[in-house]
């Protein structure tokens, strides 16, 4: 149970306070309702690049990190296809420093050319480090545009290509800030050794004077249902073949989300899960296999990915995966197995309450979904799912016509030379 108080400033900023006096620390988490899905097709990767620029100094404060570190604080941020989330952890006695820094960059950035130039380079290196210079690193750059044809989920948060980042101009940065970074599009959660009354006063003082800005009205093309199997083969310099089968799946607030999430657990959570037990251990067809859902706000992806063991053909591998999916379509998950995945979900939610930062992030996330209080009813929603509902979802999702199969093949002879140099 995560208790909280909630209020809204006149400019539209939503503020939640979670008092936890078991720690001398405080966290400030600010979620902006903007993600890669809000980008223009010709400027992908921008939300994430912008996140980097948020650390390049604001209108009245030349550097962001330094004053925070000076009071014993740490911070970071992440961007997803749906949201951009910034967080600070610092000794509660120095909480006001966080308000000072966060309010100034919500007010306005410094928009420094130097910062833009450097962060363009940093993000391009990030692109290389995480997506291009890693075995299988570009899988999502291939998979997303297979599953999505209309929705902006068809590109990854890092962007479609390096050139989009390279071409970002300071005018683009200013326009993006104006459109998305204002009190109406933000949710702030303050947690730790704090008092709601004090937070109200601090919020009024630092965030109250920020103009409300324009409300961003999201109007994204939704992804039409898929009725034809899609398939692609990529050959790359990797040591093992890899198979991905992706399906369109319910969005975070759509019917069926919880049933599909539990179905993913039945297939792939822990060593007792079906895919691991059957395909890795018993039949020894894969060395590694996973299934999971992306949990996106709009239409999500349910992905099964596995690396077949040596000598197992791609056809065999795909067939083995489909057999497991067919089983879920034909037979209800037995009571014990369903109880097992529910118990696991329940205890995961309990363990996540051990972390102050997790609690604050979760409150912001659920508030954006509609109501932070939903965090405290999350376990109930999973507990209510029946075996029948899971079977129904399996039949809805695991259709060949709803599948996108990406076969990632290990290039054969060309790799020899490179391996020998080690």
């Amino acid at each position: 149970m995560v208790k909280f108080n909630r209020f809204t400033l006149d400019n539209g900023l939503r503020v939640l306070v979670h008092e936890d006096n078991t720690t001398p620390m405080a966290v400030v988490n600010i979620l902006y309702d903007v993600g890669a899905r809000d980008e223009d097709e010709s400027q992908t990767g921008f939300a994430h690049l912008f996140e980097h620029l948020m650390f390049g100094g604001s209108v009245n404060i030349p550097t962001y990190d330094e004053p925070l570190q000076r009071v014993g604080g740490e911070n970071n941020a992440f961007t997803s296809n749906d949201i951009t989330n910034y967080y600070i952890t610092l000794p509660a006695v120095n909480l006001e420093t966080a308000f000072w820094l966060e309010s100034d960059r919500m007010l306005s950035l410094a928009f420094s050319e130097k910062s833009l130039e450097v962060q363009r380079n940093v993000v391009m290196e990030e692109f290389k480090q995480r997506y291009l210079n890693q075995p299988y690193g570009d899988v999502w750059l291939h998979l997303r545009p297979m599953v999505y044809k209309q929705h902006p989920y068809r590109w990854a948060t890092i962007g479609k290509e390096l050139s989009h980042i390279e071409n970002a101009s300071i005018e683009d940065v200013k326009a993006f800030f104006k459109k998305h970074y204002n009190p109406q599009n933000a949710i702030m959660v303050v947690g730790g050794d704090v008092k709601t009354e004090d937070i109200k006063a601090l919020a009024e003082k630092w965030f109250g004077p920020i103009p409300a800005g324009e409300k961003y009205v999201r109007n994204l093309p939704q992804e039409p249902e898929q009725h034809q199997a899609r398939r692609e083969t990529v050959t790359a310099n990797v040591p093992l073949n890899d198979v991905y089968i992706a399906f369109q799946a319910p969005g975070r607030l759509e019917d069926g989300y919880y049933a599909v999430d539990l179905m993913g657990d039945v297939l792939s959570r822990g060593n007792s899960s079906r895919l691991y037990r059957s395909l890795v251990k018993d039949q020894q067809l894969f060395s590694d296999i996973h299934a999971y859902m992306t949990g996106s706000f709009d239409t999500g992806m349910f992905v099964v990915e596995g690396k077949p063991t040596e000598g197992v053909s791609i056809d065999q591998a795909e067939e083995a995966i489909w057999q497991q999916l067919e089983l879920l379509k034909q037979t209800e998950v037995p009571e014990d197995e369903l109880t097992k995945v529910k118990n696991k979900t329940e205890s995961t939610l309990m363990f996540s309450e051990m972390s102050l930062l997790d609690k604050a992030m979760n409150l912001a996330y659920y508030e954006l979904l509609g109501d932070a209080e939903a965090l405290n009813h999350e376990a109930d929603k999973y507990l209510q799912i029946t075996a029948e509902q899971i079977k129904e979802q399996a039949n809805r999702i695991f259709r060949k016509g709803n599948s996108s199969t990406l076969v990632y093949l290990a290039a054969q002879p060309a790799t020899e030379e490179i391996e020998e140099t080690e």
Binding site: T23, E96, E125, R130, S287, N343, F351, T421
Partner: protein, 425 residues
């Protein structure tokens, strides 16, 4: 009128309060430490076993045995073990570390009576079934093939091998090493290593009498030592004479760099002060390396320095992945930053910032009862006590720019550092 250019007043971090454990010496020689606090009815229990002496002929035994503890006992199959743990919403990890191998159970307190017997079983009666061993070998070999395509992994392996030589710390196994794993060797290793006299148990969470009784019943008098005690001594570490390693990857977009030197570990009096120096160099987001090589030059997504403190040695190292075309520039900037620490006094303002950052970081690392247990293990396994943290905070508060400069001259010598580059150079 609000003046946003002025930073709010801030306070110093004065007292950092650590929770000390209660200790029980079990009749079989095992030490049990417990930390009772928290609101949730859950516990984390760790069984920590000292790794057995490195044997170059059977180098993988320590890591293979711990990893395969979940793969079967004389009464439970691997799937029965997994079923029991998962059914009760618990989490079981069996993980290899350089000095110790650790079994960790996260469980709701109410299910401990059901989950604990499984742990007892795997710790006292693992059998390493042949078929599971073959699956393990095959899957590990495949995973290794993927890891070896990652430049940062190759750099780390090469670096460790250079500074730690043929030892648990330096060993970098290949596919053939997995192939030679034998069930009989694993059983013998298991019998020697996994016994009470080589085990420390750490409990953290809501620990009431019932929880304590469950644990002491299962792992106290009913768990006996074998005839032979575990040999956890280690051969002396021998570093390589060769300092420079370049592994070419013609198609690399980035080069992985790892540079460093053997160094002191936690029990050395200079250790806390050296941590201050390390933090200035590359230990936080605002560090000199980050400020120069990422935030000024944009050569990398990230660069940092770190210190590893192991039982039989330590290292100070810098790690990064940089654009392949700027690899040499990045190296020369790293050298510049190291030399600057040796020739110029750290400005008082920067040092004050680092002090506060480090104290805030220590305070923030004490997030919950689990982190208090982790802090204790840090000193416990270095044969230190809580006085270490007092000394640490005192050093961080009192260290002067001259001290930092002297330390840099004592411990940092770029020319004598091991340098590994994987990619293009």
């Amino acid at each position: 009128m609000l003046d946003r250019t002025l930073a709010p007043h801030f306070g110093a971090i004065e007292h950092i309060k650590l929770v000390e454990p209660k200790h029980i010496k079990l009749p079989n020689g095992s030490n049990l430490y417990y930390f009772n606090s928290g609101e949730q009815d859950l516990v984390r229990i760790e069984w920590v076993f000292g790794n057995v002496r490195f044997n170059a002929d059977r180098p993988l035994l320590n890591s293979a045995v711990i990893t395969m503890l979940t793969e079967g006992t004389s009464t439970l199959t691997a799937s029965q073990i997994a079923d029991k743990i998962d059914y009760y919403g618990a989490f079981l990890q069996a993980e290899y570390g350089y000095d110790n191998s650790v079994v960790t159970l996260y469980s709701l307190s109410k299910h401990l009576a059901s989950t604990l017997p499984v742990i007892k079983d795997i710790i006292t009666d693992s059998v390493f079934p042949e078929s599971e061993l073959q699956t393990y070998i095959r899957n590990q070999q495949q995973k290794l093939q993927v890891s070896l395509q990652k430049n940062d992994v190759v750099a780390r392996r090469t670096f460790n091998k250079a500074i730690y030589g043929e030892s648990l710390y330096g060993f970098a196994g290949d596919g053939a090493d997995y192939q030679q794993l034998q069930r009989a060797d694993m059983l013998a290793h298991f019998k020697q290593m996994y016994q009470p006299s080589n085990c420390d148990i750490f409990l953290a969470g809501k620990i009431d009498d019932e929880v304590l009784n469950l644990v002491t019943d299962a792992f106290g008098a009913s768990w006996a030592n074998g005839p032979e005690s575990a040999d956890i001594s280690q051969p002396a570490v021998k570093s390589s004479n060769e300092l420079f390693y370049f592994i070419e990857k013609p198609e690399a977009l980035q080069s992985a760099i790892r540079i460093g030197t053997r160094s002191i570990n936690r029990s050395h009096p200079d250790f806390p002060a050296l941590q201050v120096l390390n933090t200035i160099l590359g230990g936080y987001f605002g560090s000199r390396l980050m400020a120069n090589i990422r935030e000024d030059k944009g050569y990398t997504y990230g660069i940092g320095s770190g210190m590893s403190a192991l039982k039989h040695g330590g290292a100070l190292f810098i790690a990064t992945e940089v654009g392949a075309d700027v690899c040499r520039d990045a190296l020369s900037e790293i050298e510049k930053e190291i030399n600057r620490l040796k020739t110029e006094l750290v400005p008082q303002e920067e040092l004050d910032l680092v002090r506060n950052y480090m104290l805030g970081s220590l305070l923030g690392s004490l997030e919950n009862v689990f982190s208090h247990a982790d802090k204790f293990k840090n000193v416990y396994f270095s044969d230190l006590d809580y006085a270490y943290y007092d000394r640490y905070t005192n050093v961080v508060k009192a260290i002067t720019p001259q001290d930092v400069l002297d330390l840099a001259n004592k411990y940092l010598d770029f020319d004598k550092m091991y340098k590994v580059i994987v990619g293009k150079y």
